[in-house]
Amino acid sequence: MNFFSKLMQLDRRWVYLLLVIVCLSAYYADFTVPTIVENETKAIYDFIEALEPGEIIFVAVDYDPSSQAELHPMTYALVEHAFRKDLKVIFTALSQNGPGMVDQALRDLTDSLKLPKTYNGIFYEGKEIVNGVDYTFLGYKPYYAIVITAMGQDYRILFPSDYYGTPLDSIPMMKRVHNYDDISLLVDISSGSITDAWISYGQGKFDFPLALGLTGVMTAQYYPFLQSKQIMGLMGGLLGAAQYEHLADNPGLAKDGMRVQLPAHLLIILFIIIGNVGYLVTRYRERKI
């Protein structure tokens, strides 16, 4: 029995053991996943990076806890980037369990923004982000198609006051902010069909720059909109989130996830290659005999 045929009959328990070792060492080893940034993600990052302090971006949080693992990292990375850049953010949550997601993200981000940090070599002072000054959370309203259309005229039509009950007119950052004309970018982070409404009812009618953050499964079917220039950027799943974290030099949830995902995938690919080499070699030898 030579090496290759032994390899072919490798007990699967070795495979399992290797997977465990790879997973655990990914948890503890000190390494960063090299991330290849795709243009679709970079487009979003560059766009936000180029904005002037004080400009407003709109983040539509359209997912609920079931897809939080994939999409929360995106929200965190993108919004933190925006706040560090002194941009202002308007949030909506048009899926029923979405407000909880925004709430949670805002709570965590308020804490992490208090710490001073250096990103990409630039030092940022820690700061307190303030509701009404740095961000406004409009909240949830049913019938997203109508909400999206109505906000093209004025946010006040369906959201006379924000999620916490403050009238929009008395919120400092909302003074002179009426509709999509007053925002620089709209990012929809979504796990469902609301994305289609943002594209057709929102971008299609009011023509604002739209970027998407989607679950991994959905990503493939939205590439055509990139080509038709209806969306300016696209982040797909944990991978897209990791790319954004990489660009923003702010490793977080997604990069943590990728630290396990990537070695695990590589291990599987390695096994496939080993298996095939073994197979081809033994077949070649058998033929010779």
Binding site: I146, A150, Q153, I157, D169, K175, R176, H178
Partner: protein, 537 residues
């Protein structure tokens, strides 16, 4: 006299001047006040909008091919929608509502609410009492009762007075306090009685368009650019916004702008009534197709019975079944048959039953052991029946035991855990997985591979086919699962129906090709052709 007159004149003039100056002052102050309020509004409020053009060609009709309780409204867009002033945000669909319907509905809902409270828990008695007071003293309820009483005077057959309602509910609560069997006491109060009122009262008390007894109310909104709306409700009369059939409705459409005060009202259409249909004419293509399929099947079954030669191409997974049973016999190991997580209400499971029947018959003939762990109790019962009959057919009824087919649990992963245990402990020579499978497909198949069993799988759950395909020795892909019973039994009837199935497939294939040619060469015909297939379920 003259002086008097002069005096008079002077005083009059004085009076006149006084009055005039007063008027002037008040007028100018009011004018000032008005300009003041104008300047008060913040400069960044919504800019003023001109009233948009109204919608035209408004039509309302009973929604076709439905279960009733639905009216479709169609209109032509306002001239300012997407064009002109571009000020249209949405269309509000308004329906004329006699007040009486409102109040009957409100009374019914609030009583229903109290009743739900009463039904719930004893510890909520104080709560129930409180809500009862709230309802009985509430305006909508009192309104409706005055209507009821008025109605009562005309037609004594209907007895539902405030005293009656009050008494019934209070009796119920009292009974609850004394721990009497409440469920019987509360019976006389029937929300259903309100349902007939909903239909009867508006006819008598809500004649259109007497503005004293009704008004237009919003029943829905459509986004700008949309030209139709379905005003519908559930069939259950207790559902919110219930729309009774065979009642006159009147509609109009309001064009809304970003300013809630600026809207344009359309003309009114009506009366229109909703009703259910007895045949869905949109399904004619389906009906024809199903009939053709049925006739094809019958013809080929007859032909097959008469001895027509029916070729079927070999299917590796099926041929493996015989071989696998033989192998199990040689090795003296059992055969494991898994019916999946489907219920008896899944066609894939029904297909699996027939395969199980053939397998069980062969097993009985070869005198091998069979083990069928089940996830669903009904499936278990049916499978027991199937295996029992198969053993009888094979002439070995004594070999049948009820624990060949046994229930485990209807929890997906506990079931998988148990089946894994069976695979590792009994080391079956062959595992057959046929039916509906979900995430567990790969867990089962990999465990089976460890145990060294020959594995044959088949499922119609598309996401799971790849896992079976990769981990099992033979996999029936999708439709092959449904064809398997014909292969195993080789009975002419089943082979005949397989032939019919192939013809149906050929027809579909041909229609796809024809459709593609048409739509690319004669787009209009193509679209019509395509629409036959795009039947809404």
């Amino acid at each position: 006299m003259r002086s008097y007159l002069e005096k008079m004149k002077a005083s009059r003039v004085l009076l006149l001047v006084l009055v005039c100056s007063l008027l002037l002052v008040s007028f100018s102050t009011s004018l000032l006040a008005q300009t003041d309020s104008d300047t008060d509004t913040p400069a960044d409020s919504i800019p003023a909008i001109a009233a948009p053009a109204q919608v035209t060609d408004l039509k309302a009709f009973d929604t076709d091919n439905d279960h009733g309780h639905s009216i479709t409204i169609e209109w032509t867009l306002s001239a300012d929608d997407g064009a002109g002033a571009k000020s249209v945000i949405s269309y509000e669909i308004m329906r004329w509502e006699p007040f009486v319907r409102d109040s009957v509905m409100a009374a019914r809902d609030s009583l229903g609410w109290v009743q739900a409270r009463i039904n719930k828990f004893e510890k909520e008695i104080p709560l129930a009492e409180e809500s009862l007071d709230e309802v009985l003293t509430g305006q909508p309820f009192l309104d409706s009762l005055s209507f009821l009483v008025a109605y009562d005077e005309k037609d004594t057959s209907f007895v539902l007075t405030s005293e009656y309602v009050d008494k019934t509910l209070r009796d119920t609560i009292a009974a609850m306090k004394r721990d009497l069997p409440v469920l019987k006491v509360r019976a006389p109060l029937l929300p259903a009685r309100f349902d007939s009122l909903l239909i009867l009262l508006p006819k008598e008390y809500g004649k259109y368009p007497d503005a004293t007894i009704g008004r237009f109310d919003s029943v829905g909104t459509a986004v700008s650019g949309v030209t139709s709306h379905e005003n519908s409700s559930a069939v259950d009369s207790r559902s919110p916004g219930f729309i009774p059939d065979f009642i006159d409705y009147y509609y109009r459409i309001d064009v809304q702008t970003s300013d809630p005060n600026i809207r344009t009202t359309s003309e009114i259409v009506g009366p229109v009534q909703s009703s259910g249909q007895w045949f869905n004419s949109g399904l004619v293509p389906v009906l024809i197709a199903i009939l053709v399929f049925t006739i094809l099947t019958m013809i080929f079954v007859q032909l097959a019975k008469k001895g027509m030669d029916l070729y079927v191409r070999p299917l590796a997974g099926i041929e493996a079944v015989d071989e696998a049973i033989g192998r199990a016999t040689e090795m003296g190991r059992p055969i494991l048959y898994v019916l999946g997580l489907g219920s008896a209400a899944d066609i894939a499971t029904i297909a699996s039953f027939t395969i199980l029947g053939r397998v069980a018959k062969k097993v009985a003939e070869y005198q091998t052991e069979l083990n069928v762990p089940c996830y669903d109790p009904i499936v278990m019962a049916v499978a027991q029946e199937v295996v029992k009959s198969a053993f009888i057919d094979a002439g070995r009824p004594e070999a049948y035991k009820d624990d060949i087919v046994h229930f485990i649990t209807n929890s997906q992963f506990a079931y998988v855990g148990a089946v894994n245990g069976i695979i590792m402990r009994d080391l079956p020579a062959t595992n057959v997985y046929m039916g509906k499978f979900f995430a567990e497909s790969l867990i089962l198949a990999e465990t089976g591979a460890v145990a060294g069993s020959i594995q044959i799988a088949g499922t119609d759950e598309i996401p799971q086919i790849p896992f079976f395909f990769v981990a099992c020795d033979y996999t029936l892909i999708g439709e092959e699962l449904f064809a398997a019973s014909a292969y195993l039994g080789r009975e002419p009837e089943l082979l005949g129906s397989l032939k019919a199935q192939d013809y149906a497939k050929a027809v579909l294939l041909a229609s796809a090709i024809i459709g593609i040619l048409l739509i690319n060469i004669f787009p209009e015909y193509g679209e019509t052709f395509k629409s036959w297939f795009e039947v809404i379920d």
